[in-house]
Every structure is written in structure tokens, then in C-alpha cells.
Symmetry: C2
Subunit: 133 residues, 2 copies
């Protein structure tokens, strides 16, 4: 597919898709006329990239971790230098920290929302038609 369709299917602007490619996050082949051509899997790839970007990872890191998510069954060990592995472990730990932080705060929001709803119900029951102070 060409960039327009990919853009529509992923919600990412064309500009952004070119940027991702420039950053090495997605790849494209070129048609004879120079147009970019993407295969089906790129749709998922873009979603993944955008998810990670939205979760606070910079493109530099995403570029590093993507290759090892791609081919979960066909891992190329020569790719994995010791520094690379160290980076991955570090990044995994950072992600775990992020997950914990997000989870804690999300749960607090949920609690708050429930409390507000419970309070609103109590309010309605104890003073129907009136306001609580």
C-alpha cells in the first residue's frame, strides 16, 4: 500500500510516517516512480511505534527494541552484543517502572471516580433535590 492508505489506516500523518522511516522505525520499498510502498504488517508496526512513543519512549530506544520484538521466533544472536543486552535490560526495567507508576495512578483515579460516584449516590439518597455542602 502507499503512504496515503497507511496514514488513513493508522491515523498517523504522512509526515509522521516519513519521519518514522527516517528514524528507522518502519521500512518501505519504492515503486518505480519513487512512491513508498508498505506491506500489510506495517500497519501493526506503526500502531506499536505510536503506542511506545505515547508511553514516553524516544525513537532512539524504540529503534533498539523493535528488532527483538519483530522476530520472536527467529532471533539472530549475532545481532545481540553484550552492550545491546545491557541496554535492553535497562530499558525493560524502565518500562516496568513506568508500568508501576501508571498502574498506581490509574488505580487511584479509578478509586476517586468510584468514591465520587458513591458520594453522588449518597447525596442523592440523603438530600434528593438538594445540594450537598
Amino acid at each position: 500500500m502507499r503512504i496515503g492508505e497507511l496514514s488513513e489506516r493508522t491515523g498517523a500523518s504522512r509526515r509522521l510516517l516519513r519521519y518514522y522511516e527516517e528514524q528507522g522505525l518502519i521500512v518501505s520499498s519504492r515503486c518505480a516512480n519513487g512512491y513508498r510502498s508498505y506491506d500489510e504488517a506495517t500497519v501493526d508496526r506503526v500502531a506499536q511505534v505510536r503506542g511506545l512513543l505515547d508511553a514516553g519512549l524516544p525513537t532512539r530506544i524504540i529503534r533498539q527494541i523493535l528488532p527483538c520484538l519483530d522476530k520472536p521466533r527467529a532471533i539472530h544472536f549475532p545481532d545481540a552484543t553484550p552492550e545491546m543486552l545491557a541496554t535492553l535490560e535497562e530499558e525493560r526495567d524502565r518500562m516496568t517502572a513506568r508500568i508501576r507508576c501508571l498502574t498506581r495512578n490509574r488505580d487511584a483515579i479509578s478509586e476517586y471516580l468510584e468514591a465520587v460516584r458513591a458520594g453522588a449516590r449518597a447525596d442523592a439518597a440523603s438530600a434528593p433535590g438538594g445540594g450537598g455542602g
Copy 2:
């Protein structure tokens, strides 16, 4: 405590602490001489803010969700307009999505690391002193 100590204890630069204050994420009182003065709880608050920032939330959103995390037991219902609640629900869902994305990818990284380690062990066992292809 003054800004220098807070900076040291949180790892956030003074500049950043002033920025957070400007963004309404932390508060300070002022000494007679104009110096900012923070109470103990601000240390945790800064950590929370930085965690959320690192997880991809913009200050605008953090400012909105912080008040409802602060006082989990002393909720002020008048604060909560319906739009506010809607925003919170939205944000909670976005956080859930982030958590899922991070978890999925982190687990994939973990799997990769384990596979590499297993491969390395197998390599070492089958061809000690040699290289695997």
C-alpha cells in the same frame, strides 16, 4: 526545605522544580526573603510528577489528575464537574492502554532476553570455544 535540598532529594534540577510550580504541579510558600519553601510531602509529589511525565503524560493532564490523587480520603465533590469526571475516565483509559502497550512490549523484551540467554547456553554447550551462526 528550600529548592536546593528538594532538587538534591528528587534529582530534579532547580529549573525544573520552578517549571513544575509554574505549571501548577507543585506548590511552595515563600519565606520573608522571597525564597521558596517546600514541605516534606513535596518530595513524593515531585517523584510522582516525574514518573507521570516520563510515562508520557503532559503537564496539563497531570495537573488535572493530581488533585484527585492527593486527598484519596478527603475528596471534595464540588471540585468534580461532569466534564472533569469525563476527562478523568478518558485519561484512565488512556493510561490503561499505555500500560497494556508497555506490558506487552516489556514482556516481549524479557522473552527475547531469555531466548538469547538460552541460545547462548546452548551455543556454549554444543561448540565450546567456537562461534555459532
